[in-house]
């Protein structure tokens, strides 16, 4: 047994070679330096994807990696159940490149218990298949009978197939009673599956696990579909060993005591996500439900309902259709009672559930649907129109409409066919490029939707999205916007003064920043080196602690904290007793600091820049859609966008950062300084030889050189 199996790793990586329906076992040892998740996945992609110039993930040469971390399958708070999926994406604009997605639930922990740190998927199966993994047992099965089923039905059918002894809720021996490395379990398998949308290579198709854990961004459902891979089922009876079990438990107890939500005394105005005591659902309360959590979570942001519809839906997915339901209810009170919260929630859940069944990325609909509705009102969408469609948008908001709408995308028919290879690609083909450029279609980066945090206001989110590969979806600083905006809306006095808050956060960001200036998001300061360094911290944190160590985005980082008392308001991030590194060290036996982890994140992002360079990325392509530079941001969730700013006298306050646009030239200059700071060539954005050597990424040099993508030094 390798030593790494005593410190969080399973020790093995599974390589599924779909073209020949074979598999190989790879020792994890070589990849431990990457931690896990995003870093490990990137390194595996580098090694196993022979042609990294592909620009569409549906290419047979693409390689997809599902990666866990040492923390998966342990009681590390809100890190035990996340799972990273990487590979070349599809549906991005102007072309697709290596990207990532993340999935919660039980999949990663079950992979670890089955003895696998990651699964590498290459090639294309000759016919549809699903893969059964039970501990060390790996089997390919025909998926002909599952092809055409949605992601829920696929899993339910596999549960039936895999429960061979039909022992239901009892202990089941695996795979044979007491034999070999087998054990016993009461658990059902963790299955990831695609729907009809993935089968049809629909670029907004995701991969679904359980009822509502979806890998949404990147179109990885279509990538699986292109490989004839319908599902992977994992069931394990093993264990994850920790180097210092007592330290892990001690920190877990402590984080509950100090930071996690207190259900006995719920603080509904808690500031940080780590402390928020309710499920994150926007459609309203539905009391006949339970809170539902991913493995190891300290809070549980999802729900399961007495109807069973909308199980595990959360956040934006819980409400992507909500506004339309309410609008429709006003016109059709006989059909929907606007005052009946339960009915509204049920319909909203129904819409979310449809997206889960079809494993569709609801975020795309968040901004695509208003645009489509606009086309309808402009007379451009409908039967025989510029955007031909049979859908009746007068029924938008009804259950009948959302069913037809989702089916159009799932089955790649009607408007779902027009946008099947990428939304912006479809928009341009239809002669509506101007809508993309002027922001009528709110897709600011890489041809994908805005997350709700407009780059013109919340610049760190926008910068990180355009400087990486997708909507970064990383809420470290964003919780500040939510809390202060809600406080402002309610007319409440914030619990922490702006002056105190910026110092709290700046302290967490050392040594990347040397003072609170980085938190000044006033228009004058957003291109400064201080904000640039905050952005670098943010990207590096995202690449290691969040997506390699796999701390949940909606719980970590915890940069500040408030339960309404005066406990100091320091967040858990980097804390010597309950910070991210405490759990990492307890499990892995390392002795790293939070900053050591950030350095690893830096290394990961540089390697990803190398892949992007091979895929044709150049700094000239790294820009927002035109409207971000040309039109002020005027419409968000609230009539204002609150953040910390410093006035001319140097005094900190909470201020509105809406109503502004980005300056193209200043952003280009920001980019140049960012590239220089990151050791990337400022002319191209590609990693330099010097940087690659410094980061011990020498293995990438030859391939970059071969493709003419290797600038010589940082000073070039």
């Amino acid at each position: 047994m390798s030593d790494i199996t005593n410190r969080g790793y399973a020790g093995k990586i599974l390589h599924l070679k779909l073209s020949t329906l074979e598999y190989e076992v790879i020792p994890t040892e070589k990849y431990v330096e990457w931690g896990g998740g995003n870093g490990m996945g990137t390194a595996l992609y580098w090694d196993f994807c022979e042609d990294k110039t592909i620009q569409d993930g549906r290419d047979e040469k693409n390689v997809v990696v599902i990666a866990t971390s040492p923390l998966c399958g342990t009681a590390t708070p809100s890190a035990g159940g996340r799972c990273e999926i990487v590979g070349t994406a599809c549906g991005l604009y102007p072309e697709s490149f290596f990207s990532r997605s993340n999935i919660g639930g039980r999949l990663s922990s079950m992979m670890k218990y089955a003895g696998w740190d990651a699964i590498v998927i290459s090639g294309k199966a000759p016919k549809p298949v699903w893969v059964e993994i039970q501990n060390s047992l790996v089997r390919y099965h025909s998926a002909e009978a599952l092809w055409g089923k949605d992601a829920h039905e696929t899993q339910l059918r596999l549960f039936g197939i895999l429960d061979r002894k039909n022992e239901g809720w009892g202990w089941q021996p695996l795979p044979g009673k007491g034999a070999g490395d087998s054990g016993y379990t009461t658990q059902i398998p963790a299955i990831a599956a695609i729907s009809q949308a993935g089968e049809r290579l629909q670029t907004m198709a995701g991969i679904l696990h359980d009822a509502g854990n979806i890998s949404g961004q990147g179109g990885f459902g279509a990538v699986w579909g292109s490989k004839n891979l319908k599902a992977i089922s994992v069931l394990g009876t093993g264990a994850v060993k920790a180097a210092d079990p007592a330290a892990l438990i001690r920190a877990r107890f402590k984080v509950k005591e100090r930071y996690a939500p207190d259900v006995q005394k719920p603080d509904l105005l808690a500031w940080s996500f780590l402390s928020y005591p309710k499920p994150i659902a926007f459609a309203g309360d539905y009391d006949q439900s339970r809170r539902s959590a991913c493995v190891g979570c300290v809070m549980g942001c999802r729900q399961r309902f007495s109807t069973g519809v909308g199980n595990q839906v959360k956040c934006q997915a819980s409400a992507w259709y909500l506004a339309y339901i309410k609008k429709y209810a006003k016109k059709h009170p006989e059909e929907i009672d606007l005052n009946n919260e339960k009915q509204i929630v049920e319909i909203s859940n129904y819409a979310a559930d449809l997206c889960n069944r079809y494993a569709l990325n609801t975020y795309l609909f968040q901004h695509a649907l208003p645009w489509l509705e606009g086309l309808w009102h402009r007379g451009l969408l409908g039967k025989g129109k510029q955007v031909p469609s049979e859908l009746d948008f007068d029924k938008l908001g009804s259950k009948a409409f959302v069913k037809e709408f989702c089916e159009a995308f799932a089955f790649r028919k009607d408007i779902g066919a027009l946008f099947g290879d990428g939304f912006v690609h479809g928009v341009i083909k239809l002669g509506l490029e101007e809508d993309y450029k002027n922001g009528t279609l709110d897709f600011p980066y890489w041809g994908i939707q805005e997350h709700g945090y407009d780059p013109r206001a919340e610049v760190e989110w926008g910068y990180a999205s355009i400087l990486t590969d997708r909507d970064v979806n990383s809420h470290e600083f964003n919780q500040l916007y939510w809390n202060i905006s809600i406080y402002t809306l309610m007319g409440l006095k914030p619990r922490i003064s702006a002056e105190k808050l910026v110092h709290l956060i700046a302290e967490k960001l050392k040594p990347y920043v040397d003072g609170p200036e980085c938190m000044d998001f006033s228009e004058e300061n957003i291109y400064s080196d201080a904000v640039l360094n905050l952005t670098r911290w943010y990207i590096h944190y995202n690449r290691f602690w969040k997506n390699s160590a796999l701390f949940c985005d909606l719980r970590w980082a915890n940069l500040f904290h408030s339960r309404g008392d005066d406990a100091g308001n320091e967040g858990a991030t980097g804390d010597p007793e309950v910070g991210e590194q405490v759990y990492w060290n307890a499990v892995t036996g390392e002795n790293i600091s939070i900053v050591d982890g950030l350095k690893r994140g830096y290394r990961v992002i540089v390697l990803q820049n190398a892949i992007w360079a091979l895929q044709g990325r150049h700094r000239d392509k790294v820009h927002f859609a035109d409207f971000i530079y040309e039109k002020p941001f005027e419409k968000g969730e609230f009539p204002f966008y609150m953040w910390t700013v410093r006035d001319k006298e140097g005094k900190w306050r909470y201020g509105d950062i809406m109503h502004r646009k980005l300056d193209r030239e200043k952003f280009e200059d920001f980019k140049t300084r960012y590239y220089l700071a990151e050791g990337l060539d400022p002319k191209t954005g590609w990693p330099t030889e010097e940087t690659l050597k410094k980061l011990k990424l020498d293995f990438a040099i030859d391939e970059l050189k071969e493709h003419g993508k290797l600038p010589e030094s940082n000073a070039s």
Binding site: A75, I249, S289
Partner: protein, 235 residues
């Protein structure tokens, strides 16, 4: 198959113990013993019990991972002495089932053990526990457990059986466990869905260990405090 309540010479256990006490023979302060001339075991009650709220649990399985960690130094659902089973496709509240050892009054697992490995530990509050040095892995204790899933676990690596000891023997827990000490699952649960009680739940009420631990604060965060009669899984 439903196990019938054990009978002692035609009397139920409680009546039988009263008779014993009246005759000066009591087991409440000492270890379990065989009643001379019979094959009947008399054992003192455990001083602590775990009860759960199946409608409150959020399925994070932190309790399972922590249980395994403090006992074995590794996180494993299969080695956890508390079992949470869930199916995300089912309707609330039937989507989650929690299974804790009952520390039974007249523990069938203790009764079934042929080598007295499964025994009453008087040093640790009369918990029903298994001495791994004595266990021969025959699994008769598992077979005897009347609940499904079985509240005892077979460890295929050690080829021994284990069960909940209320954290009395936890080499990887900094705190004192067992009755009167810390129960890791209780302490780690983020929502308070597991509770430690000293009063023995009713032994023949199939719902006695599944209690309502929700209060006004639970309602305040959007959920119900309604009582549910959820099956504990007796076979």
């Amino acid at each position: 198959m439903q196990n019938s309540e054990p009978k002692f010479g035609g009397m139920d256990r409680r009546t039988f113990l009263k008779v014993l006490a009246a005759s000066g023979v009591t087991a409440t302060a000492g270890a379990a013993f065989m009643l001379p001339g019979t094959n009947l075991m008399v054992m003192p009650n455990s001083k602590g019990y775990l009860v759960v709220d199946m409608a409150k649990c959020m399925g994070c399985v932190s309790c399972m991972m922590a249980c395994s960690m403090v006992h074995h130094g590794e996180s494993s659902l299969s080695l956890s002495r508390i079992q949470i089973q869930q199916d995300a496709f089912q309707k609330f509240p039937d989507d989650i089932h929690m299974a804790v050892c009952h520390q039974c009054e007249d523990a069938p697992c203790v009764n079934a053990c042929p080598v007295e490995a499964d025994h009453v530990d008087i040093v640790h509050g009369n918990i029903r526990t298994i001495d791994p040095d004595r266990c021969i892995g025959c699994t008769q204790c598992i077979d005897a457990c009347p609940w499904l899933p079985k509240r005892l676990q077979f460890n295929p690596k050690t080829r021994k059986v284990q069960k909940c000891d209320l954290c009395a023997n936890t080499p990887y827990l900094d705190e004192k466990g067992g009755p009167g000490g810390t129960q890791t699952c209780v302490k780690v649960c983020p929502v308070g869905a597991i509770s430690y009680v000293e009063k023995m739940p009713k032994q023949h009420d199939p719902y006695a260990y599944n209690v309502n631990l929700r209060d006004k604060s639970w309602v305040e965060v959007g959920h119900t405090d309604k009582d549910f009669k959820l099956n504990e899984g007796k076979v």
